[in-house]
């Protein structure tokens, strides 16, 4: 079963940029993750996110409130490189 990356955001330019970066890093590292975009505001709140965009990798919240850099995304995926 594929592991999940969740990108929290309601559709503004920051969230879209984060999603693009995640896809870019996944391709570069050749990792198989499912990327889910969470746009529903209730779901975002329930996850404890008080400011979008937010990034969650395999159940762990990596970044809240700003767009993670490619370096930060890579660092969070480091443990999954076999």
């Amino acid at each position: 079963m594929k592991r999940i990356i969740k990108v929290y955001g309601s559709g503004c330019i920051k969230c879209k940029t984060l999603e693009k970066r995640v896809h870019k890093v996944l391709t570069e590292l050749d990792l198989q993750f499912e990327v889910k975009k969470v746009t529903d505001i209730i779901e975002i709140m329930d996850a404890g996110v008080s400011s979008t965009p937010a990034l969650e990798v395999d159940g762990k919240m990596i970044m809240k409130g700003r767009v993670a850099t490619e370096k930060e995304i890579r660092a969070s995926l480091e443990p999954y490189l076999s």
Binding site: S10, G11, M45, S51
Partner: protein
């Protein structure tokens, strides 16, 4: 066929003229600093600190003003408003302050105010800010009064929310506040000496190394002060390096020069005290704002200019030309039912102003439009439920009408029913 060509020609010319008028040097001096300030606010203002003042144990006379202020300080991106609203309601001060925040955020966010000030006029922008904060608090208090059992006081979650309200006075803080006061004096009274004293205050704070982030914010705000000042020191054509220039141009050059001094101050302060990665974040946030908003501004101004060609002036002047209750209600209804993307309400307001709309109804429109777009009503409906949402919408409608009437009355537009 000729009439169609004429129409296209006329309207395009109107659109382009309006756009070029707006993109004048004067406006760029206001709008560009605003983007940088918005970026800085997004990076440097700590959300948690501000949210602390809206905890569940905070007394009302603090949480409400702070909720309104938070709308100004935090809501620079629309994606922040809704999660924060939910946070304040469910985990913080309750429904009232949350609603206050919800109302003030779109109305007093920095880019909206700067845009309004530069396109429509400083008086309307100022009124928009002040009245929005006032009515945000009124609406919040009313909602809290009408729905007293909406507050889920979760004592377990907020047990360590002890609020430290002591405000320590320090030389730096006094200097910073003085700098702001002098900044306002520059804009409102145009005393050159105010600029010099203000800059000296800021330089002293920079040298003293304390309050680094607040000082940076005030430095940035000074750019807005110089940008919006109505400097009028040159009253006749003067000589500049041997070239004779009009006094209008001379004044503009003076403003640019003052702004340049402030920019040097910002550079030095940032170089001394702000980390490299923070600056990178700041520039990235600024870039995001420009990318998401600038094209909306340009298109908005152009389209409003286009529309100006088609709307009959007599109709506007007749129906909306004076500060009547009818005109204000119309302004509010127009704001509710006409859907425009963010910030589009500003060039539309300018359009109506040019066509003869009175300033009272204009303010009513400007206040109600960002609050009650179909999109935000749908979201608040999901968050608050049908009953609260309907009450909120009605409250906003009534109070923005009243706000417009009061403003119109205050600037001498009179008052009547229709």
């Amino acid at each position: 066929m000729t009439t169609i060509t004429e129409t296209i020609n006329g309207s395009l010319t109107s659109g382009i003229d309006t756009l070029l008028d707006y993109l004048s040097f004067h406006v760029l001096l206001c709008l560009i600093p605003a983007f940088f300030i918005a970026g800085a606010m997004a990076v440097f203002i700590p959300k948690d600190t501000v949210m602390k003042y809206m905890g569940s144990t905070t007394p009302g006379f603090i949480s409400y003003p702070f909720a309104a202020l938070a709308g100004f300080l935090l809501a620079v991106c629309s994606c922040t408003v809704l999660p924060l609203f939910a946070g304040i309601w469910k985990k913080g001060a309750g429904l009232g302050p949350a609603v206050t925040f919800l109302f003030s955020a779109p109305a007093v966010n920095l880019l909206a105010l700067t845009y309004t000030g530069s396109l429509v006029g400083l008086d309307i922008a100022f009124a928009r800010g002040v009245l929005a904060i006032l009515f945000a608090i009124i609406i919040g208090v009313t909602m809290d009064y009408l729905f007293p059992d909406a507050n889920i006081k979760n004592s377990q979650e907020n047990s360590d929310n002890t609020l430290d309200l002591t405000f320590t006075l320090s030389i730096d803080r006094i200097l910073l506040v003085s700098a702001v006061i002098f900044g306002f004096i520059i804009v409102l009274l145009d005393f050159p000496i105010a600029f010099i004293i203000g800059i000296i205050c800021l330089v002293v704070v920079t040298i003293r190394r304390n309050e680094q982030i607040p000082a940076l914010m005030i430095w940035l705000v000074y750019l807005l002060f110089t940008g919006t000042s109505q400097i009028n020191w040159s009253s006749h054509p003067t000589e500049f390096f041997g070239v004779s220039i009009s006094d209008e141009l001379a004044n503009m050059l003076l403003k640019a020069f003052l702004s340049f001094i402030v920019v040097i101050g910002i550079f030095i302060h940032s170089w001394l005290y702000i980390q490299q990665d923070q600056i990178a974040d700041w520039l990235q946030e600024t870039k995001f704002f420009v990318r998401s908003i600038l094209h909306l501004i340009i298109i908005g101004v152009f389209v409003a200019g286009l529309a100006k060609y088609f709307i009959p002036q007599e109709l506007v002047a007749d129906l909306l030309g004076s500060n009547t209750v009818l005109a204000n209600v119309f302004g509010v209804l127009f704001g509710i039912f006409m859907y425009f993307p963010t910030l589009m309400e500003v060039p539309i307001a300018k359009l109506f102003l040019d066509l003869g709309m009175a300033k009272g109804p204009l303010l009513a429109y400007l206040l109600s439009d960002p609050e009650l777009s179909i999109q935000s009503i749908l979201v608040t409906h999901k968050l608050m439920g049908k009953e609260k949402n309907i009450v909120y919408v009605i409250l906003v409608g009534i109070l923005t009408t009243i706000a417009g009437l009061i403003f119109g009355l205050a600037i001498g537009e009179g008052f009547s029913l229709y």
